[in-house]
């Protein structure tokens, strides 16, 4: 993906939400950060930095300064949950983003995650209709579920990438090769989220031709070149392997702070297909290992996950689009299945003919084009 990384965050609007987590986003979201509603949660108080703010895209930065794990809710009339974040550990910070319409609400902190919580009334001002905001609880739930998915993918990646690094450090070339593609699966499934942390992707997933002047080449693709093109594991590779693990752990810890919206989920799904269309179809992504189809499959899986989560709303608002997407996901999965190997991997991409690549390309375009309409279908107007 590296070639397009610089614009990815802007495209996705998956910018990291905030100053709450030091160092995770220096530049992207200063405005959101400045506008953020800050919540200081303790065992006995729930201090809200402002009780009136404009409707629309709202960022709530939470700091748990108490001794108990807490959760924070925004309630509408009748305790309707507008948005929430559970499991905020003592001493940790978290951020919630939501589209909130004008109206009266309550923010509640629940130390120990029990009871009605310590509540504070807030007013969201402005014209609800003009804000374009959505408070569809199904979308809020979809975003939460997608964040959970992204977290699970990162959590599952760390053990595999650690094994990959261990094999390199043991000088075991063949084992390292066998773990290269699996170590990328979780990342590739949730790449738009991963890329939204602008500082991680350049370190982990840059291709040689995507380097900025003066940038040191690190990460998966450097190791890929060493393993396949040079068939060599030296001290440098061992250091790079450790660095990759460190960088990916950084990614893992940042996911709770990633700014995810229904719109960014939908467009992120489309972005995953765009990744396939530009980098994988040509075989550029994994040019030494030819494991492109493994990345391809992971991109499609991640896109499908986002779509499935948004589907309840999408199918209500645009049934025909949902029908098309169902059919196209099925078609592309069937196509990929033909290339699946007994060991769970995929056919080496250098064995895939030009004619077959055209078939893949057509399938990707057939899915990517309707997928580009998903965001519009889930936006509440």
């Amino acid at each position: 993906m590296s070639a397009r990384r610089s614009t990815a965050a802007a495209l996705l609007t998956l910018a990291v939400a905030t100053a709450a987590l030091a160092g995770c986003s220096q530049k992207k979201d200063d405005k959101a950060s400045a506008d953020a509603v800050k919540v200081n949660a303790t065992d006995s108080a729930c201090e809200v930095s402002k009780t009136s703010f404009p409707a629309g895209h709202v960022v709530i930065d939470i700091a748990n300064k108490g001794s108990k794990t807490t959760e924070v809710y925004v309630y509408g009339d009748g305790d309707k949950i507008i948005t929430e974040r559970e499991n905020i550990g003592p001493g940790t910070k978290a951020s919630i983003t939501a589209e909130i319409k004008a109206g009266s609400y309550e923010i509640a902190c629940k130390p120990g995650m029990v009871g009605d919580g310590i509540r504070q009334k807030i007013t969201v001002t402005g014209d609800a209709a003009s804000s374009g905001a959505s408070t569809d609880p199904r979308l809020t739930a979809a975003v939460d579920a997608y964040r959970t998915y992204a977290q699970e993918q990162a959590d599952a990646t760390i053990p595999v990438v650690t094994q990959f690094a261990d094999a390199i450090k043991a000088g075991d070339l063949e084992k390292a090769k066998s773990l290269f593609a699996p170590s990328r699966t979780g990342w590739e499934r949730t790449e738009p989220v991963a890329e939204s942390f602008g500082d991680i992707d350049p370190k982990t997933d840059t291709r040689e031709d995507g380097l900025e002047p003066g940038q040191e080449w690190t990460g998966w693709h450097k190791l890929e070149k060493s393993l396949w093109a040079d068939a060599r594991i030296g001290d440098d590779e061992k250091k790079l392997a450790d660095q990759l693990v460190t960088d990916l752990k950084d990614w893992q810890t940042k996911i709770p702070a990633a700014e995810i919206t229904a719109t960014s989920m939908a467009n992120g799904a489309k972005e995953l297909l765009d990744e396939v269309a530009t980098g994988k179809i040509t075989g550029e992504e994994d040019r030494y290992s030819h494991t492109d189809l493994a990345d391809f499959a992971a991109n499609v899986e991640g896109a499908q996950k986002a779509y499935e989560l948004l589907k309840p709303v999408a199918s209500e608002k645009d049934a025909e689009l949902a029908k098309t997407l169902d059919a196209e996901f099925t078609a592309i999965q069937a196509l990929l299945a033909k290339y699946k190997q007994a060991d769970g991997g995929y056919t080496s991409y250098d064995k895939v003919t030009e004619a077959e690549r055209k078939t893949f390309s057509d399938a990707v375009n057939s899915l990517g084009e309707p997928l580009s309409k998903l965001a519009a279908a889930v936006v509440v107007k």
Partner: protein, 441 residues
């Protein structure tokens, strides 16, 4: 190539004769700007002035809305015959052949053709596709790709054709159309000397976009391809420039890449008698859905530019049987003088292709020059993208090309590298109808 097989007609004239001949003076040449017609809210004024009235505003997304009256920049999409055949040849071409995707169904194909027809009506009318290039939801990609924003319609025409693969592919009747395949839509035979590249040949569907502005022609194909994603995919495409045939014989005859005037005696787009005799399929000739249509043969003809350029002038003129400067047939002073075939070398191109040498057969040509970089051997990949329309290819292009392929002296300097054959149905007559309706309906 230059099938010099037409009757003499007309006299040379200035380059503006196109417009003059078709009754389109320069006074109201002002283009209909897409920008001016964008968004019917703003366009309400313009549309209202054109007499369509406020109904148009209420049907903004329905591109079946009649376009304002034709202007020099605007060729009507609706009509008895498809535009882009007898229409005065525009300056530029973007031609695309499509394959129908393996996952497509008859239903999805019909849906696409309906959407294509709406988009074609909009674009040929100088309007944007769907909700346009810069309106619609901010979260969604625009319906129109936008590179033709602010450009006039530029006499854009879009012409659709159906290839053999639509009716039967690899022995499979994919869309229940096998029985409706016209007998005239043959798989073209191999001609001597052909070196066809499968990547530049065939196709289940084609769309010919002609316009005076290449950006407008490219935009049109791009938007149709986008609409068709999932149902069709581009098999190959070709850009063309410098029309090499004229359907307006009064206009100055254009030159091909060999420097010779080409299409001196093409069928005039205004010659309804000849069009009926040679171009339009008559009732009862094959399936009803082809009545009023025409068969299109597309050939990518590579020219051996470098060897041609080092050929003596005498040899070049002998190859054609015409003079290079004036374009006059051998033994005659003027381009449009009736040729004395016997004065031309026996293997000259014009002599072999002339109707008098071919029992009077004629085809309507709309060829364009192309140059696509080099071929990797330092040679220019250039030549003629030959497009010919006829009532029955079996009786027109095929015998003509068989004759040329076996004897034409020009063969030393050219090679046919791409080939396709399409059945182009009659025109979409009015809003609400669609390309292929008679075939699928």
């Amino acid at each position: 190539m230059d099938a010099e097989n037409q009757q003499q007609s007309g006299t040379p004239a200035g380059t503006d004769a196109d417009a003059a001949a078709s009754g389109r003076g320069g006074a109201d040449r002002g283009p209909i700007s897409r920008r001016a017609v964008i968004g019917w809210a703003g366009a309400g004024v313009a549309i209202g002035a054109a007499g369509v009235g406020s109904v148009a505003a209420a049907t903004r997304q329905d591109d079946d809305t009649p376009a304002p009256a034709a202007t020099p920049a605007n060729i009507p999409f609706y009509g008895e015959h498809q535009s882009g055949i007898a229409t005065p040849v525009q300056d530029r071409l973007h031609f695309a052949a499509f394959d129908v995707s393996a996952t497509a169904t008859r239903e999805s194909l019909v849906k696409m053709l309906k959407e294509w027809s709406k988009a074609a009506a909009a674009m040929t009318g100088g309007r944007e596709v769907g909700t346009g290039a810069a309106s619609g939801l901010p979260e969604a990609p625009p319906d129109d790709t936008g590179e033709a924003l602010g450009l006039p319609a530029s006499r854009l025409t879009l012409t659709i054709g159906f290839g053999p693969g639509l009716f039967e592919k690899d022995g499979v009747d994919r869309f229940g159309l096998k029985a409706r395949r016209p007998e005239a839509l043959i798989d073209l035979p191999n001609f001597k000397g052909d070196k066809l590249d499968p990547q530049r040949s065939g196709g289940d569907l084609c769309v010919q976009a002609c316009a005076d502005d290449p950006q407008v022609a490219v935009h049109a194909i791009r938007n149709l391809a986008r609409i068709g994603m999932g149902t069709v995919n581009i098999r190959w495409s070709q850009l063309g420039f410098g029309k090499t045939s004229s359907t307006t014989p009064d206009a100055q005859t254009p030159r091909n890449m060999m420097g010779f005037k080409d299409g001196t005696h093409n069928i005039a787009g205004s010659d309804t008698a000849k069009l009926a005799e040679h171009v339009w399929v008559a009732p009862g000739e094959g399936p009803d859905w082809m009545t009023g249509g025409s068969y299109l043969v597309a050939r990518r003809i590579r020219m051996h530019i470098e060897t041609w350029d080092r050929t003596s002038l005498k040899e070049q003129e002998d190859v054609f049987g015409r003079t290079k400067g004036e374009g006059a047939p051998y033994g005659k002073p003027k381009e449009h003088d009736a040729p004395d075939l016997k004065a031309m070398p026996e293997d000259s191109h014009v002599r072999l292709a002339h109707p008098d040498s071919n029992s009077g057969l004629m085809i309507l040509r709309r060829g364009f020059s192309f140059t696509d970089g080099t071929d990797g051997l330092g040679r220019l990949d250039a030549g003629l993208f030959f497009l010919a329309y006829q009532r029955d290819s079996r009786k027109a292009f095929v015998p003509l090309q068989q004759r040329l392929a076996s004897s034409d002296k020009l063969n030393e300097y050219i090679q046919h590298v791409g080939s396709a054959h399409f059945a182009c149905p009659a025109g979409v007559r009015k809003p609400g109808e669609w390309w292929g309706q008679a075939l699928f309906g």
